[in-house]
Structure formats: C-alpha cells, structure tokens
Assembly symmetry: none
Amino acid sequence: MGEIRQPIKKHSIAKKNKIIKDGFKLMCDKGYHNVSSVDIAREAGVSTGIIYQYFKDKRSIFIEGAHLYASKIMFPMLNVLEKEKISNDNLKEMIGKMIEESIKGHKRNKKAHGELLSMSQLDEEVAKILKNNEIMVTNKVVNILSANGFSNDNLKEKVHLTINMIDLLTHEIVYHKHSNFDYSVMTSNVIDLIMHLLSRNILSNN
Amino acid sequence: MGEIRQPIKKHSIAKKNKIIKDGFKLMCDKGYHNVSSVDIAREAGVSTGIIYQYFKDKRSIFIEGAHLYASKIMFPMLNVLEKEKISNDNLKEMIGKMIEESIKGHKRNKKAHGELLSMSQLDEEVAKILKNNEIMVTNKVVNILSANGFSNDNLKEKVHLTINMIDLLTHEIVYHKHSNFDYSVMTSNVIDLIMHLLSRNILSNN
Amino acid sequence: MGEIRQPIKKHSIAKKNKIIKDGFKLMCDKGYHNVSSVDIAREAGVSTGIIYQYFKDKRSIFIEGAHLYASKIMFPMLNVLEKEKISNDNLKEMIGKMIEESIKGHKRNKKAHGELLSMSQLDEEVAKILKNNEIMVTNKVVNILSANGFSNDNLKEKVHLTINMIDLLTHEIVYHKHSNFDYSVMTSNVIDLIMHLLSRNILSNN
Amino acid sequence: MGEIRQPIKKHSIAKKNKIIKDGFKLMCDKGYHNVSSVDIAREAGVSTGIIYQYFKDKRSIFIEGAHLYASKIMFPMLNVLEKEKISNDNLKEMIGKMIEESIKGHKRNKKAHGELLSMSQLDEEVAKILKNNEIMVTNKVVNILSANGFSNDNLKEKVHLTINMIDLLTHEIVYHKHSNFDYSVMTSNVIDLIMHLLSRNILSNN
DNA sequence: TATGAATGAGTCTTCATTCAT
DNA sequence: AATGAATGAAGACTCATTCAT
C-alpha cells in the first residue's frame, strides 16, 4: 500500500515523464502553491490516482522536474559552452555571447526561474539541486578553460564569480527593467570586470 | 463590515507591532505557507480575532513586516554606511567592512533572507519592497560617494554592481559553505573587482 | 455580571431607543444576518459595550424594534382607520383608500416588511408579534364596523379575510410588478370581493 | 481550481441528489443559518469535501433544493389539479379539495414552507424560484379552466387571486390556530368568494 | 495499471459577546 | 455608565492523498 512504483514499460515511463514535464511547467507558471494535484493530473491528461503511484507526493514531482530542467532554466549560458570553444582570442566575445544567451534564456523561462529560486529557499532538496547545477556549470567552464590553456590560479573561484556576475547582470536586465539604469554600460562593466578577473589566468604563449 | 482599525493608543500600537514582529519572524522561520493565522496569534500572544482587526489578512502581516525589516535583512551593509565616512583612502577598507557586515547580517537572518527572496518571486508587492530597498541603498551609496568627491561617471550602475557583488559573495559564503572554495581568495577577488570598477571614479585631487 | 439594565434616566432611555430605532432600521435594510453588533453600535453612535448593557443580545434589539415598529410597517392601512369613520356609504371608498395606503406603506418600507416576514419564519417571538399585530388590527376594524352599525355575523372572520386580501393584493402589486397582470382589474376584483364578503353585514337602517 | 462537477454516473447522481434532499430538508428544519456545511455532510452521510465538488457553495444546495421541491411545498394543491378535471359542475367541490390538500400539504411541510418564504426575502434567486412557481401554477389552472369552458375574461388575474386566497386561508389555519376564529366559517367564506369571483367566467352552455 | 470519487484535517476569516479601563 | 479592544468558538471552503472499482 502506498509503494511508489518505478514504471518499467516504455508506455509507463513516457506517462511518468509527461507528468513531470507538464506538472513542473504548470507549477512554474502558476506557482507551486497555486497548483493542485488535480490540476497537474488534468494538465498531464492522467488521473489523480496514477500520480500517487509514480510519485510519493506533489512535492516530488517538482523535485524531479527540477532535476531534469533546472540546468537549462538556471544556466542557459551552457548552450554557448556546448557549441563553441573558448580561447584567449575570443574570450571577450564568448563572455558577451554567454550574457546574451543568459538574458534570452531567462526571458524565456522567467516564471520557472523565479519559481525555482523561490522553492530553493523553501525546500532543502531544491536548493541542493540548484547548488549542484552551479557546481556542475562551474566545473564545466573550469575544465574548458584549463583545456584551452588558462592557468589554474584560483580558477574555480574566479569562474564561479564570473558565472554569478553574469547571472546578476541578467537578473538586473530581465527583472528590473523600469529603473533608470543604462544597461549597456552595466553590461560593458561586467564584461570588463570578468576580463580583469581572468586576466592573470590568460597565459601569453597560448 | 470588517474594517481595519489603525490603532491610536500606545498600547494598541505596541500590540500591532508585536504581531508584525513575531508574526513576520515566525513566517520567516517556518515559511509563509507553513504558518497559520492561529500560529501567528499564539506566537504574538494574542487572539486570532485581533489579528483581523489590525490586518486585512495574513499576507498583509508579512507585507508590513517586509516594509519594516527588509532593509536590515537584505542590506545589513547599511550599518557600515551609517557609521563611517567613505573616502579615497579608506575605500578598500570600507568595502571589506561592508562585506563583513553583510556576511554577519545574513548569517543572523538567514531564514528571513531566504523567505523574503522566495516571497518576492511569489508576491508582486514583496518584490516591489525589495526593489525599492535596493534602489534606496544604491542611492544612499551613490550620494555618499558623490559627497566624498567621487566622479559621477556611471556611478549609479557601478554602485549597483558593487552592492550586488557583495551580495553575491555573501550568498556564496553563507549558503554554499560546503563546496571546496577558498573564500578568502574569492573575497579578495571581489574587493579587487570593486576597486577596479570604481577606480576611474576616484578623483586624484581629493 | 451580565445583568440587563433598564435605563431610568431620560438620557439613557433616549439612548436605548436610539439603538432600537437605528439598529432595527439597519437590520431591516441590510438583513438581520448581514448586520453585526458593531455595525449597530456605529449606526447608533454608541459603543458596542453599551449595547449589551441595555440588551441581552443582538436578537433582542430586533425584537424590541419589531414591538415598536411592526404595526406601522405591516399594516399601514391603520392610518386610514385612525383618520376617518367607516359607514355603509363610504365603505367601498374606504376600502379603496386602505388599499392605496397599504401599497404606499409597503413601498415605503419594502425592505423592513420583507425582513419582518423573513424573521417571523425564523423566530417564534417575531412571529408572535406579527400575529398580535394582525389580531389587533382585526379587532380594531371589527370594533369600528360594529360601532358603525355593521352586524356581527362572523364579522371577525370576514374582517380578517378582508385585511389579508388587501395585504395579498398589496404584495402582488409591490413585489411582482413584472408579471403581465392588469393590476387595476385585480384591484377592482378585490374591492368587489370584499364588498361581497361584507354585504350581509351591512344593516340597511343604518 | 474548484470546478463544480456534474455527476454522470448513476451512483454519483444519486449521491448528489441525496445531498440536495437531506441538506435541503435539514436547512428547512433548522433554518438555513443554523445549519453548517458539516451538518449537511453528516446528514447526507458524506464528507464535507464531496459537497464542494457537486456544489459551488452551501447556498446553492438550498437553491437546487428549492428548484426541486418548492412547487410541492408551496403549492400542494397541484396534486388535485393533476388528478381530477375541473368543470362547472364540480368547481365548488374542487375548490374545497384544493383547500384541503393545501392545508394537508402545508402541515406536512410547515418548516420548509416557512424557510422558503424567509429565504425568498433574503435571496433574489429563491424569490425568483417561488415567483416562477406561482406563475406556473397560475398558468396551469388558467389552462385547465379554459380547456373546460371557462371564459377568458380576466381569468389570469382571477385565478391568481383564487390561488392566493387559498394560500391565505391555509396559512391562517395552519399557522394561527390559537386565535378564536371559526375556521369552517372562514373556509366557507373563501369558497363563496372564489365562486363569486369566477361566476362571470362560467359559461352557461358548457 | 488506471480511474476519479471521496475523504477530512486544516485554512482563513467573522462576529456575538466580554472585560479591563 | 461607557468605551472599544480583545476573545475564541464556529463557519465555509480547499486540497493532498486514499481507495473502491
């Protein structure tokens, strides 16, 4: 009684994934607390009962959704890293692209982004997922830079700062648009800061 | 029917403030959605009924709490600004102090900080309060710097970045302590970045 | 503790009466269940506390109001009887006037009339008050007719019917105006019926 | 969120109807305002939750009950009309039967009758239901009489008066039994009045 | 597996009444 | 006598979860 079943058949796996996808999206759109399990069931086109065969509770749908989608939502700049190489020569350009991509991604998933942030404050596990994401992105960038000849001098910390600064700028631009700031200046400043930060890691003979 | 009373007598004002203080604290500690109006009443040592004479609903207790306490919670660095003057000579030192104070404050109010962030994603009005706080702090710092002879060259944007970088560092240190980062390095980096950012605004003959 | 005080001083009596008058009016206008004791206090310009020194509970304010005002509200036709004599010769005319007055009165106090009717179904004591009013009006008319030479042949019953038929017609006209009835015809019919009903009681040599 | 379900399965329809029946009865017996949703649930042998899947709110249970039962409660004389034909010859007898049936019905449903009257003063929709019932009954009788050869001379108005006079008499007998009236006389009077009222509509060659 | 009706503890809120002043 | 702040029981309604089918 109350055992959570791990679906084996393809059909069932697809159903479970649909619940996660549709349910997570709905919770992100309307807010976790404004969506009932009945809503989720309806959205996913399944019965309420089946939900509790695949998931322990409503919360775990969100958790699984976060596992699957958080990285795309929180770090859209990953797209850039997966496509192009970074080097001394294109570093500045790449940072600009990452900022761009970050802004685009955040605009695309504004609601989801906010809800994930919100839930991460309310739920340890969500917080952990986001943290792991952050670590994963950091490591990825560190590895790329290392592989491309950047020195390892406190690279971890600097990359972490870099990512967060991009995030910070993104938030500013996506959420705070009505203040009287000159965002192009702010963007230049951020790029300049990042270049400054990484300058010592740029090895000349590369 | 159900008009909200603005308490006039000292005693009543104290009671209303106690409800805000205790209620807000409780909601921050346990999470807004995990605290009932009965809980708030018990915490404040009053009856449930009286709550609804002073407040329209449970939410507005949180809102009023946010109005009163958000700035201290979100920007403890304000303490530094209110006590000491900033100048060319002590700028670096002051930044260090602000970082310190920020970390201390965030540690003190970790839960409240998180809940405010969370609610700001869920509630327009909370978001507005936090934004106004941010603007207020930014303006305060801009004014202080201007008054102390810093040039106005994109100062607003830079100060905003500065504050957010301090915040970013603070979060990193307060929330993410288990990763394998060297936080003293990261702190140095941030200070260095801020100095770099503001360097052009430092007028020599001052 | 909790004793109901009968006010003795003129001032207090006036205050109690004001509570009854204003409170009863308010309850009639908005509906007994939609008016709180706080509302009544505000309307009467007194404190909530004082209400419970003069009245056992909210209900008894309504009861006392019913005692004072029900007859005017439910039987405005009384006005006619108090002003003019009834005789064989003016009987028909008088009936017409009573109908007119009844309609006017009901229009004036539509809300109060409805609330009294409603409460009389919910509250034994209100029902009793209305019944006593009805009896009182019946007796009054019986006495007038007797004194004016009408025979006593089942006069009580006939007068009762008469009064109720006037009331019935009044309701029809005041409340049901949107049906497609010809109310002048209906009025004529009622007058005709009443004349028919009382015809045997009209003594020729009067 | 909270959509109202229209039950399709037999079982569910039965359950919904049981809630209406038992709930409406309870509200009529104890008074709408003295019955809670928990009371209704208990009376119907269901959980509180299910009530709000079938009904928008407590009120709408009463409304649906009124739709279903008001005509039987308010116009039990309908029973007679549905069973027997009316003609010149049996008109007087039929009126007698309608009065009898009306009295029996009102005695059976005294509380419900009162509560419906009361609610009709408090709730527009209940008032509308009762008015529609009245119109329906009137039309029914008008049609029967027309079909049986009565002339149409203001028949509508007269039938309406007739019905109301029967109602009036019924109330008198059912509610006011303690006064010193001779109800057999009053009944005769009413029958006589109705016959008088309709006399001109009785076509001789019928 | 799947359904969706059913559950009932829990939530916010109201208001007649009391009580300290 | 009078005030009006305070009480707290009670009410309508919600929703995560269970269960009969």
